[in-house]
Symmetry: C2
Subunit: 330 residues, 2 copies
């Protein structure tokens, strides 16, 4: 394993007029159940998966039995980086209430919601954003449910807490690597590092899971929950939601600093990518290209073109440029 | 001259925990009146300066005599990428009215303002954003004033229009290069390409201008207008405004896709930088480092630390990481 910069290659270019204006480097890996099938950049580059690994962080919730009865919609929410729209906020509040818990039990911190309607409502009524609006509040609800089962203390985001120990164990098992370290994520939970190849391998395990054991059943339930409720995983206008809606059975998930993963059950493949500079426009364009390459996404669909294909325009609609794949990628 | 990717070097790193999470490559050049003093990356890399060159785009307005009587505040506005706050919107409306023109004469397009108060006002009253809110509406007011003087038609953003021909001529003269092409900017005006070194050379000319001829007087007036009214150049919370406020006589200006320039009259130096991936957090950190290196900015000042030095924290305030200079830069 090497640092994230080692071996990064051009993935996505931004053109304006006849000139290259900006370029994004990075790493992208496609794995099947046996290992790396295809890679651009360095599969050994160490990354923080950030929110792209929420389906891994949710494994102990299901494998422990704590979340065995959870409906698919809540499983999707446990894997979500949601917009804090009313549907997300209401669903988290309901989940917390069903556990006899409340907003004050969360440890994700307050976040102003990205959802335009909810944001407007808060601004114009003077209501305050709260921890339920945090894009990770579904994941944290899952942590709280696991914690009730494990009987741990209230500070469930501390790296030594039983919840996080369980997450780390699952994470290392499915990536097939000892994690070289952790960082504190925006929601204050530890985020375990792995290689891009390790993350793609984990996604291939989700893709090829067949329900033969507790882990495999958990993987199937989580990927199917995401696919069944794309609106819960992100929100209106967001890449995860819009891309899952126009694919058949493929789960995708973004992470901060331009990580993106995909789980392709029909192909038995997992994908992981990281854009070196953290630019989300590039991770969205790159995952769109890879999903198209693998036959999971129609590159001419408006939801694909929105990320890769539509021209860049000025504020008066004049054609200005385009986001393109860099030479040599995909 | 080469494309923007050729010779880019690491400028800014983002760390989380003990691991490098993201890296930004790019080019940075310091020039004096004679040429390049110091450079990282490739001074010959071709870039679009975007809004960083607004003081160049304003030169014909003053050199023609059309804007000879403009107060410093309007000169700052002509160089601005403003937030669309009330002070900016009111100032643009007044300027247009003084010319017997209105919002409908602008060709910059409508933009939802970044200023939180004005954004909230529009959302909660139902008032619509308009072209005056566009961050470039001050530059366009300057274009309109020049156009009145030149007697051109209303489509002053067209590349063949007398206003844009005058801008291109000034641009090529002060960069010392034939522009290799233009792109359409977000505000629909042409944006002429140059090398990073050419842009730094132009800034050095602004820095060393002494009022000896019409161009030199225009350069002094524009840099002094920016320095006298930093609040007009960007807005509250923005890097240009906050950095100019805590420096002595230094003008700085950001541009889309992570360009940043500085004009340092006391040192007789000009600076230009471009982050390859277009990441603004990196261009702000890099210009902060260069201004500190050149003795213009106290790196321990909170407004400097905000861009380079303050830790990254989770939403609950837990220490998570840091933005740092990449090895070898600055």
């Amino acid at each position: 394993m090497t640092d994230v910069a080692a071996g990064a290659v051009p993935l996505v270019d931004v053109w304006r007029g006849d000139l290259l204006e900006s370029r994004h480097l990075g790493h992208a890996v496609i794995c099947d159940a046996r290992g790396v099938v295809e890679a651009w950049g360095n599969p050994g580059a160490v990354i923080y998966p950030r929110s792209s690994c929420k389906m891994i962080q949710a494994l102990p919730l299901l494998e422990s039995g704590a979340g065995a009865a959870l409906p698919a919609r809540r499983l999707a929410l446990a894997c979500a980086s949601h917009n804090g729209a009313a549907i997300h906020v209401d669903a988290v509040r309901d989940w917390l209430a069903d556990m006899g818990l409340g907003e004050e039990d969360l440890r994700c911190g307050t976040q102003v919601p990205d959802d335009p309607e909810e944001h407007k409502r808060l601004l114009c009524t003077g209501d305050a954003a709260c921890q339920v609006h945090n894009n990770c509040s579904g994941k944290h609800s899952g942590f709280l449910m696991l914690n009730k089962h494990l009987g741990g203390g209230p500070e469930y985001t501390e790296p030594g807490h039983p919840v996080q120990k369980a997450v780390k164990a699952a994470f290392e098992e499915v990536t097939g690597e000892d994690s070289p370290g952790y960082g504190i994520d925006g929601c204050s939970a530890p985020n375990f590092a792995t290689s891009v190849g390790g993350l793609a391998r984990a996604m291939a395990r989700f893709a090829t899971a067949n329900g033969s054991d507790a882990r495999s059943r958990a993987m199937v339930a989580l990927r199917e929950g995401m696919v069944a409720h794309p609106e819960m995983v992100a929100g209106e206008g967001r890449a995860c939601t819009e891309l899952m809606r126009v694919m058949d059975g493929v789960a995708v998930k973004t992470g901060a600093e331009a990580v993106f993963v995909a789980i392709l059950p029909k192909q038995g493949l997992g994908v992981a990518l990281k854009v070196l500079d953290g630019g989300t426009r590039a991770s969205e364009a790159a995952i769109t290209a890879l999903l198209s390459r693998l036959g999971a996404l129609d590159p001419a669909h408006p939801m694909a073109m929105k990320r890769l294909g539509d021209p860049l325009r000025s504020r008066r609609g004049i054609l200005a440029g385009a986001v393109k794949l860099a030479p040599g990628f995909c």
